[in-house]
Amino acid sequence: MAKYNLGFFGGFVLTLKQVLEPRVTTEYPKEKRPKPPRLHGRHVLNRYEDGMEKCIGCELCAAVCPADCIYVRGLDNPPDHPVSPGERYGYVYEINYLRCIHCDLCVEACPTEAITESKMFEFSFTSRADAVYTKRELLVDDDGRPQQLPWEDWREGDDEHTSGWMRATSPSGAKEYEGSVQWSAELGYGVRAPEGGQSDRRDDEATGNISIREVQRDKIPVRYGGRVR
């Protein structure tokens, strides 16, 4: 970084130099900045690769929720066409987004990785009823993609990424666990890549782990690691 001599005229020189610098502004509704890897967005209910729902209706998520925003009712699987591989399945699943604080404790509590969070947070409703997402809105579709609702602002590729928190490995910083996958495959995606840690075994493309400096390169001067001369 250049060292500026801020004497009496230094301020004038500095401000005049800034005129030629690139603008750092991101004009938000027109363009979006990349989201942080572990951003907590709205939830999705996942399915196994064979299309079975992962949720077993155990209500642990509802029990752990500090904002009391989740309502779950489990039901015994019908023997002839089971919804989930377990004994029971989530018959009712509702999240009230006027209460949700996106703490991700439900994701931590879930024994089957049924509920995870996407990075999608740009949604607004015009009625309280719309704020309650039911199973119909939360469950991924037959391609494994989250469902796009009319009041949500999605861009191309926004639904590709789930919150990196779900795919964090190496608990307690034990390096022998880093990058070792301990989660099940998902419909449409297979086994998701682990979040990039300290090792070389990282798949930033899949996890959406792109540094802002990388993405905003066109707005950052060369001497700060960007592309603009």
């Binding site: 301020g11 004038f12 500095l14 401000t15 005049l16 800034q18 005129v19 610098e21 690139p22 603008r23 750092v24 502004t25 004009e27």
Partner: protein
């Protein structure tokens, strides 16, 4: 004397005057909206931002949008306000801002229907005094706005603003005197004409650069613009003298502020930079002076915004120090030197010697007073009166020391000796 009225006042003359007034008014109001946009764009350029870019091409209609918004907002008058004065004050601020511009020559002299028309709204014989008079009246707008709001922060803000404006008006008036001495006339047209034909005839060089610098600083302070925007203190006073104003009344203050910025840049150009003077061409010969005037004024407007971006605010005592202890003595001395130079060489050196002697005596007096201030027994720290320094830890914190301190507090007259 305005040459337009030399052969009596007929219908054509009245028509020309009306057209000049309307065109001048519209041009000033239009340039005020553009100035607000210009300031926001330039300052955002200097801060790596984009600035207004939504309303109209490059955001040029942003000011219009803001004005429409303000117009439709609720017009509040505080319960404890003096209603008549409260309503009057915005106009006392705006009208002088518009009127000052009337004496600024924005172009050369043209002939319309056998009438000699100077391209300025009015050319009264008192000329430049109109500027000083109306800028004094603008102080009333500031003062009364704060006073009539019936609230303590506007009052404090207006006291600050008007004290500042009055202080800097003195230095400003003294530098204007140097220009008048050089031009032998008060008329702005005559002042511009006296600088015509070449850039080395411009007053900024003929008078030495000092009067220009003083005038520019004083004008910035007069405008309450950064770094002298003491009336506005986000942390302590809010908007300064107008926090109780809303709706279109607030917009009037805002327009006055930016109108004054334009006007004072134009006055600087008129007094020191030859006004519309500059090389022209033979085709459309009336256009070039106007372009020169606009270019010079625009340059000074850019400098005003640049100063705002570059300099931090002064503290209030620094502001008063700069005005009273530096600018006023300096402008007074420079005025005497200019007067001496015009009279004769003997007077010039006599006055320079006298000023130097006076400055020496003044400096010695300041030094002596500082020494007395820091003399033994004084509770005040040495040096500048407002500097806050940690007092040295006392060797004995016994009762006798504090008793002597109390004694010296009771009889401050004995401190020095």
């Amino acid at each position: 004397m305005d040459q337009l009225f030399a052969h009596g006042v007929g219908l054509a003359v009245i028509l020309i005057v009306v057209v000049k007034v309307v065109v001048g008014f519209a041009a000033l109001l239009g340039s005020v909206t553009m100035m607000i946009w210009f300031e926001r764009k330039v300052i955002s350029d200097m801060q790596n931002r984009i600035g207004p870019n939504r309303a109209g091409p490059f955001g040029t209609l942003q000011t219009l949008a803001d004005g429409i918004k303000l117009f439709f907002k609720e017009d509040l008058i505080p319960a404890r306000a003096d209603r008549f004065v409260f309503r009057l004050a915005p106009f006392l601020a705006l009208v002088p801002a518009l009127l000052i511009f009337t004496v600024v020559p924005i172009g050369g002299v043209v002939t319309i229907a056998h009438h000699t028309v100077e391209l300025q709204v009015a050319d009264p014989p008192i000329g430049i005094l109109v500027v000083l008079a109306f800028s004094s009246i603008a102080v009333y707008g500031t003062m009364l706005a704060g006073w009539s709001s019936g609230s303590k922060y506007p009052l404090l803000g207006s006291v600050r603003a008007s004290a500042q404006m009055i202080s800097y008006e003195a230095a400003m008036g003294l530098t204007v005197v140097t220009v008048i001495l050089e031009a032998h006339s008060l008329s702005t047209r005559a002042i511009v004409d006296s600088q015509a034909t070449a850039w080395w005839h411009w007053n900024v060089l003929r008078l030495g650069v000092v009067p220009f610098v003083i005038f520019f600083i004083a004008a910035t302070a007069e405008l309450n613009r950064p770094p002298f925007d003491l009336a506005e203190g986000e942390s302590e006073l809010g908007g300064g003298f107008h926090p109780e104003y809303s709706s279109i009344r607030f917009a009037l203050f805002y327009m006055a502020e930016f109108g004054n910025t334009i006007t004072y840049s134009a006055i600087v150009v008129t007094l020191f930079f030859g006004g519309p003077d500059g090389p022209g061409f033979h085709f459309v010969h009336w256009l070039w002076p106007i372009l020169w005037f606009l270019g010079k004024t625009g340059a000074f407007l850019y400098v005003q915004v640049w100063i705002r971006a570059a300099l931090p605010r002064l503290r209030y005592d620094q502001l008063m120090d700069l005005g009273w202890k530096w600018l006023i003595p300096l402008s007074l001395a420079w005025m005497l030197v200019v007067a001496g130079a015009i009279e004769s060489l003997g007077w010039l050196f006599g006055i320079i010697g006298g000023c130097a002697l006076l400055a020496l005596v003044l400096w010695r007096a300041v030094v002596v007073s500082r020494e007395r201030r820091s003399a033994r027994g004084s509770l005040l720290p040495p040096g500048r009166p407002f500097r806050v320094e940690a007092l040295p830890p006392r060797a004995d914190a016994g009762s006798s020391a504090s008793a002597s301190d109390l004694r010296s507090l009771e009889s401050p007259g004995k401190v020095g000796g």
